[in-house]
Symmetry: C2
């Protein structure tokens, strides 16, 4: 049995949607057991009892707008997020899924789960939809704003193993996010990373990729520092939101437009769904001793369910062990 | 009369679309004269003679994929781009409009037009459409990949004056592109820039802006270093392209969808047009002794015309002189 800790109290629609997601997960996935961390009385209002779901009482939550995430975690060891994270370190569970505040989850994962031996930096890595139906991994989406090129190499190992084991890509291609495709483009960091990726036998390096291909990338993994990749992620979100608004305005204009809009309603819903990262799952925090998945803060039941399914799959495929082997063997070779 | 130098040979559809754009410009704008730099015989095949358009013969062009732009400019002084730029330094013209290679144009502008006294770095600044019909300036979209915060302050002066004089915004708000809205977010550079902007009397500082608001920003100017802003620009482009592809696919599905698509055809064209940066004009290179506008490489006649109209407006409003006054008075106060 794969044991999943769910932070039931974190997220915009917590705990109801988190509970519904967990219920769907045990109903459809046979080899998992879920522990919901949260307020028992509140959870029981929504939860339909199931022999593979249990509740552990927590106290307090980590605020979404928390300005000092490290302090928040340290002073709320009994919060649902902190207890869920600690349960992985204690080996009570194999993975954590949380829709709580990203920075608090990253900080909490460092403190309470711990970084993999020899892994220099963590990364947060969402899987995003593309126009070609083949999702890609974007990292580091915000764990380390400034980073050395050699640490990016370790993150690329992780992403490559994840893409192979979880997304089923045979030999995943890694692209470096850059302002031009030619070798030599970009900042010093980008040039150093380019050279390290190019000469590394564990990395199938595609080369530089400009974000003007971001929804149809020629590779399975797009990597940059935590500031840049976070900016890319948020710009995709902002553009999608802005375009959606403009599209709605333009489609509504005129009588023909209005009829067209009615006839296309189902298609537009499908389009919207296809753009939603929740369809694929959450963002994994790379580099920890355990599996920690950050589901979107705005997750509804289906989105949260997808994140649980993803967590189970990562555990099932032994991703952490496989990465540890590569990282440690590389560290020995140095 | 405002005198505009047009690089007729640069761009994906040069010289035909550039010539058609220039013809439209002299027909609709009374106070401009245009000089087309390019191959006379080729130009005359398209150009309808006009008393406010003349041709100056050039030799050779700067390749769009030029890897060493500085060398390209230095060794092609008779190219249409180089001659157009030089004409501004010689005061034969007031402004240059080119759809040629961006990096070559930036390098050429430095060498042949020259940087404003006291201005430490140039910037390239497109004006982008928003969902709220109020365009915003994005800079630095790629002139200086790594930059000091104090130089960003000068660029913000320039953008503020441009927004006021050319876009007609009374007190333009400047937003710093960042990964979070709170003070203290981001890299060291972002934090330094935040403090300098906040305490500067020439800048109406809004604060940090996350790119998830990029098509509906709460300010008139979004600023970052040349790497980050370029990444933002290309991510907008990539997302728009990818979403357009997905939208088309989804709308076509099913018989109702197909009928809906037919009825919405005009609305979708309007939507596409609204997303096009060409509707607004080109990107100005800030910090030069003259007005240099980079029109999109893919410009058609209307897009190029918009860039010429923009160049004329920048000259008419004395933007360069107004910026020079602020920069020099600030330099004296140091």
């Amino acid at each position: 049995m794969i044991k999943i800790a769910v932070d039931a109290m974190g997220g915009d629609h917590a705990p109801v949607e988190q509970i519904l997601g967990a219920m769907k997960a045990v109903e459809t996935i046979d080899d998992i057991e879920i522990t919901l961390y949260g307020d028992k009385a509140t959870i029981e209002k929504t939860l339909k009892p199931h022999d593979r779901i249990k509740i552990v009482q927590s106290e307090g939550t980590i605020d979404m707008g928390e300005k000092d995430p490290i302090r928040a975690i340290r002073s709320n060891r009994k919060s649902s997020m902190a207890m869920a994270l600690s349960s992985v370190r204690k080996a009570d569970n194999d993975a954590v899924v949380s829709s709580g505040a990203t920075q608090a989850l990253i900080a909490g994962a460092h403190i309470l789960v711990g970084r993999m031996k020899q892994m220099k930096r963590t990364a947060i890595a969402p899987v995003l939809p593309t126009a070609s139906h083949k999702p890609f991994i974007l990292l580091d989406s915000g764990a380390n704003l400034e980073i050395k090129a050699e640490y990016m190499v370790q993150q690329a190992y992780f992403a490559s193993i994840y893409a192979k084991e979880v997304l089923g890509v045979e030999s995943p291609k890694v692209g470096l996010i850059n302002i031009g495709t030619e070798e030599g483009k970009g900042r010093d960091l980008d040039n150093e990373a380019f050279q390290l990726f190019k000469s590394n036998k564990h990395i199938n390096f595609y080369g530089n990729v400009e974000p003007k291909e971001v929804l149809d990338p020629p590779c399975d993994i797009l990597i940059s520092d935590g500031f840049t990749a976070n900016i890319v992620m948020k710009t995709i979100e902002g553009t999608a939101k802005g375009m959606g608004k403009m599209l709605k305005e333009e489609l509504k204009r005129g009588i023909l437009g209005k009829i067209g809009l009615l006839l296309s309603a189902k298609n537009l819903v499908r389009f919207k769904k296809r753009m939603s990262p929740e369809e694929i799952g959450g963002a994994m925090i790379y580099g920890l001793k355990g599996v920690v998945i950050k589901a979107q803060g705005s997750s509804k039941a289906d989105g949260f369910y997808n994140a649980i399914r993803q967590a189970a799959h990562v555990v099932r495929q032994d991703v952490i062990d496989k990465v540890t082997q590569v990282i440690e063997s590389e560290a020995e070779n140095e």
